[in-house]
């Protein structure tokens, strides 16, 4: 309610939830509430603000229409799932923008909704820090990459989202990049912190030749207060000179040996080529000359001055192929824009298909214009036949190291795109240490920005991931940040793999993997898994760390709010301190006439609990404000199936017994609002004693057998309990004692033990025996202050697990050979808190026609959570002749909203 003067008719806004997972498919209901009904239709237009974007992170929100005469209208807030990681959570504040109709006015209320990201992190256990990314984008060494006088508004590094990769803390640490080039400057400031391994003789950079220096500074130049920073600035380097074969017999032999020498590199950068001949030119030559591909290539290499023959070319190819066991080969395509195909050496996989697994070619695309209005101009030869393993970057007018010291240069060419890709490979190798070079290659290709050109085909990667390409632009411009995100397809989403090896595992969809816990477990599972990181796989077998506790969902317990209608039903008639409802004929009998055998009365049942349970539960206290005192996982079910029940009458007592068996063992309900789970077999026997007319006592023994669940706690997909059977044995007592003529006390208590047998073929490893208890006490007192009043007090602890452990296998990141290991995490099933429900009711029949009452309920540590919010419900009630009226205010325990409601009834008899 507003706290200051409100307009005559105002509109407020509420939501039935304050957070939602983007992948949950849940809808939050937004409700616009009029302070009073009006005769016109009221249209409430909503606005939004916050980090979540309407239309991107959630469906566009429509306006809310409140029909004439109504006081509420609703619309849905639907989160949109995506493959982008948004640093854990985004939020949006939805407010009333305008109101039209009925003279209604805005009352300024808004609701804030948090959209949670399922994955805690992408790539590694590192946390993405957007502020770090922004800081990098503004860093002078980062910014200087856009060369002096460059026409690009956008920094080419930002075009490939390098700053966001830095936002993960990635730097290429521990990785090595091989650079085969010419004109190296190991004494350049950009190389000062590098461990540089060399092979053969290097041509040293001079003021007229420093190509290798520029290339290596882009791939891995230091971040040390110099002029620029490299893509993988903490990576180490391996240098070899393609032009310096020294004493080796031929150039391909030299290239082969240099390639083999770089045995620790995750990428080999080649911003050079011995021939500018197109792939198709060499292919035609081989065909027309009837020579092998190796011979044809040797001819062209030799014609360019690099003396070769078929056998040495083959040796070079073999060395490249071997390199792909640990690294990706990156080749810059010719800068000759008049070419219609990639040059032959960049397209070696077209001649030797065995090289295609971890091979990338680089084209130069000048990206001009501001973000959102870019223009793309190809500045090199097209991808041509290499289209399916070709990436672009902006290598136009960029700055890199020149010769010694701090000399820098601004240049253009695919030479300066290739090292961006090689550096990106090093970053990905750091993020995905168990990825093969082929997987790293595919990640970059499948995540590239191909939105700015028409596709002429699509590459299908594993698990149905498709990515469009064209002969001109290949797969588009590399996007390192996108490559660090989960990549999914319509056929294959994020998954958890169970098995010894990735290749021989069973996959379960991440979003479908969860455990719905019974309220009696409280926050035990969530707390036990807090801070535990599991790994899920995306479609391309990239592994991503996430908070494993997000697999836990809670089935909601009843909140002991005041039921106005129910309370008004008996308010006028005063208190009967003996509320026991005897169940002498129980429900679900298949035949009215029971079978009489000796003193036993036996009947078959269908769709109802066994007789002992019915009797126990049927003695429900009508005045209790809290129904949860009888809600335990083993006493309640919704699928009883068929059963047989009987009774044996003694003098002042009786024996009840029975069993029920579900018709469908596989039935289960996962509705979070009901304490119903897997169908159960139930056996029960009770003894009920009537001590006198009002004082009673009963004791109930029973067993409840669940298949695929435990205490109504159900796992799904990778956390399914399938194969596990749990048997809960319990004892429950129920007693009522009259005190004098005007008071009574009533008590209910249960204690149980749950044992499990069998094992699940999922991440659920083991469940140890668990015990649980519940209790409730109600005191009724009539004639408290006068002869026409009464008071009722209640205290209830809903069913709560006190001991037990659930052990879950938490998947680790798989090793390089695909082996998956697991950490066993044992979770104490005792929740952190103890929920207590307290109720009080006072009623006073002032006169024959008039009665007043007040009723209150208070709940602490809701859901057995130590630090949970407390809720309450307070009602004022009255009866005057045929009118019954009441008003109450409920403190919503979830969202801290207060809800005022009222009821007015008039009853007459015809």
């Amino acid at each position: 309610m507003p706290t200051s003067a409100a307009p005559a008719t105002y509109v407020s806004l509420t939501a039935d939830a304050s957070s939602v997972y983007e992948s949950s498919n849940d809808t939050i209901t937004l409700t616009a509430i009029l302070s009073k009904a009006v005769t016109e239709t009221v249209v409430v237009t909503l606005g939004s603000t916050g980090t979540a974007t309407e239309g991107t992170d959630y469906n566009s929100i429509s306006s809310i229409t409140i029909a004439a005469g109504a006081i509420t209208g609703t619309t849905g807030f639907v989160p949109l799932n995506d493959t982008a990681y948004e640093n854990g959570a985004e939020s949006t504040t939805i407010f009333i923008s305008t109101v039209s109709g009925g003279g209604a006015q805005i009352w300024g209320q808004s609701v804030t909704i948090t959209i949670n990201e399922y994955a805690l992190n992408s790539g590694t256990t590192r946390i993405y820090d957007a502020s770090v990314a922004s800081t990098w984008a503004a860093n002078s060494e980062f910014d200087n990459f856009n060369g002096d006088g460059a026409t690009s508004i956008q920094n080419p590094y930002e075009v490939i989202n390098l700053h966001k990769a830095f936002g993960y803390g990635l730097s290429g640490e521990g990785q090595q990049i091989a650079i085969m080039d010419i004109g190296f400057a190991t004494d350049h400031s950009q190389m000062s912190d590098k461990t540089i391994t060399t092979y053969g003789t290097l041509t040293t950079a001079s003021d007229s030749g420093y190509h290798g220096s520029t290339v290596s500074s882009i791939a891995a130049g230091d971040y040390d207060g110099g002029i620029t920073v490299g893509v993988a600035y903490n990576a180490d380097l391996h240098f070899s000179d393609f032009s310096q074969k020294g004493g080796e017999t031929s150039f391909p032999t030299h290239w082969a040996n240099a390639t083999a020498h770089a045995s620790a590199a995750v990428a080999q950068n080649n911003s050079w080529g011995p021939t500018n001949a197109q792939i198709d030119t060499v292919q035609n030559f081989a065909a027309s000359s009837s020579v092998s591909n190796a011979t044809a290539l040797a001819a062209y290499f030799t014609a360019g001055g690099f003396t070769s023959n078929a056998s040495t070319v083959e040796a070079y190819v073999e060395s490249l192929n071997n390199f792909q066991n640990h690294g990706v080969v990156v080749f810059a395509i010719s800068n000759t824009s008049s070419l219609t195909d990639a040059d032959a050496i960049a397209g070696l996989p077209e001649f030797f298909p065995e090289l295609s697994e971890a091979w990338l070619t680089a084209i130069n695309i000048e990206v001009a214009g501001a973000v959102g209005s870019e223009t793309y101009t190809l500045k090199s030869a097209p991808c041509g036949q290499t289209k399916e393993y070709c990436l672009g970057g902006d290598g136009w007018q960029i700055k890199g190291a020149a010769h010694t010291g701090y000399y820098m240069t601004t240049g253009s060419g695919t030479s300066f795109v290739a090292p961006q890709i090689s550096g990106a490979i090093a970053l990905l190798a750091e993020a995905f240490p168990n990825h093969t070079p082929e997987q790293l290659t595919d990640r970059l290709l499948a995540s590239a920005d191909n939105s700015f050109f028409d596709h002429t085909g699509a590459t299908t990667f594993i698990n149905g991931v498709e990515h469009g390409y064209s002969e001109t632009y290949g797969h588009g411009i590399m996007d390192i940040y996108a490559a660090l995100q989960p990549i999914t397809s319509s056929l294959y989403s994020r998954s958890i793999k169970i098995g010894e090896n990735v290749g021989e595992s069973t996959s379960h969809t991440l979003e479908q993997t969860y455990i719905t816990t019974d309220p009696s477990l409280g926050d035990a599972l969530e707390t036990g898994l807090m801070g535990v990181h599991g790994y899920f796989f995306d479609s391309m077998n990239g592994e991503f760390a996430y908070d494993f506790s997000q697999h836990i969902r809670h089935r909601l317990d009843l909140i002991p709010v005041v039921n106005l209608h129910k309370t008004l039903g008996y308010l006028g008639s005063g208190l009967n301190i003996h509320q026991t409802i005897d169940v002498n004929s129980f429900n679900g009998r298949l035949h009215d006439q029971a079978l009489q055998i000796g003193g036993h009365s036996i009947t078959a049942t269908y769709g109802a609990p066994a007789a002992p349970l019915q009797s126990f539960m049927g003695s429900f206290n009508a005045l209790s404000t809290d129904e949860s005192m009888y809600l335990t996982p083993f006493l309640n079910d919704r699928n009883y199936g068929v059963g047989l029940s009987g009774s044996y009458q003694l003098d002042k007592s009786r024996l009840l017994y029975g069993f029920t068996m579900p018709m469908n063992d596989n039935y289960y309900s996962d509705d979070i609002y009901y304490a119903a789970a897997r169908a159960k077999k139930s056996y029960a026997i009770s003894y009920e004693a009537d001590i006198n007319e009002y004082d009673k006592f009963s004791v109930l023994f029973g067993s409840s057998i669940e298949r695929g669940s435990m205490l109504n706690t159900i796992g799904h997909a990778a956390l399914a309990f399938d194969g596990i059977t749990s048997n809960t044995s319990y004892v429950a007592i129920n007693g009522e004692k009259t005190i004098g003529d005007t008071a009574s006390v009533r008590g209910v208590a249960t204690i149980s033990r749950t044992d499990t047998v069998g094992s699940a073929s999922t991440l659920v490893n083991n469940i140890s025996p668990a015990t649980s208890t519940s209790f409730g006490v109600i005191i009724n007192k009539a004639e408290l202050l006068n002869s026409n009043d009464y008071v009722t007090l209640s205290l209830v602890q809903p069913s709560r697990v006190n001991s037990g452990n659930l052990t879950i296998n938490i998947p680790n990141r798989s090793s390089f050979d695909g082996t998956i290991s697991y950490d066993k995490t044992s979770i104490d099933l005792e929740p952190s808190g103890r929920q207590l429900n307290m109720g009080m009711e006072y009623g006073h029949r002032v006169s024959k026609n008039f009665a007043l009452g007040i009723k209150a309920a208070y709940i602490s540590e809701y859901g057995h959570r130590e630090n949970s919010l407390n809720g309450h419900s307070v009602a004022l009630l009255g009866v005057f002749k045929n009118f019954r009226f009441g008003a109450k205010i409920d403190q919503n325990i979830y969202f801290r909203d207060r809800l005022l409601s009222g009821l007015l009834t008039y009853t007459t008899r015809f």
Partner: protein, 118 residues
């Protein structure tokens, strides 16, 4: 010596290649050399800057070449100054270097003018 020069240029479509390490270019005159060089560039789709061709002249008065004695001297001379390749290789021919050595010098020259950097 020059009577034995054999050029493989002249065809726009390569008819095959055997690494016989024979001389590639016609050294009878600077014009014939450039013509045979351009034919080679076209034939094998080399990327060569125009400046690299235009700068090649008959530096017959150059004193540098008088000190060329060994293969390494010729090779280094071409690396240092590709524009003098015609005269250097012509001199090497006159000095009686073997065909394989002449071929190697031509390879050095081609690498020097071949735009192999991307």
């Amino acid at each position: 010596m020059f009577a034995g020069v054999f050029t493989i240029g002249g065809c726009t479509t390569p008819q095959g290649y055997t690494p016989d390490e024979a001389q590639r270019f016609n050294y009878s005159s600077i014009e014939d050399f450039k013509k045979s060089l351009n034919n080679h560039i076209d034939e094998w789709a080399l990327s060569v800057d125009n400046e690299a061709i235009e700068c090649i002249k008959d530096f017959s008065s150059s004193s540098n070449n008088k000190n060329l004695q060994s293969f390494n001297d010729y090779d280094l001379g071409i690396v240092s100054n590709p524009c003098e390749a015609y005269l250097i290789i012509k001199t090497a021919n006159a000095q009686g270097l073997r065909d394989t050595e002449i071929f190697a010098l031509e390879q050095t020259f081609l690498r020097a003018i071949n735009n192999s950097l991307r």
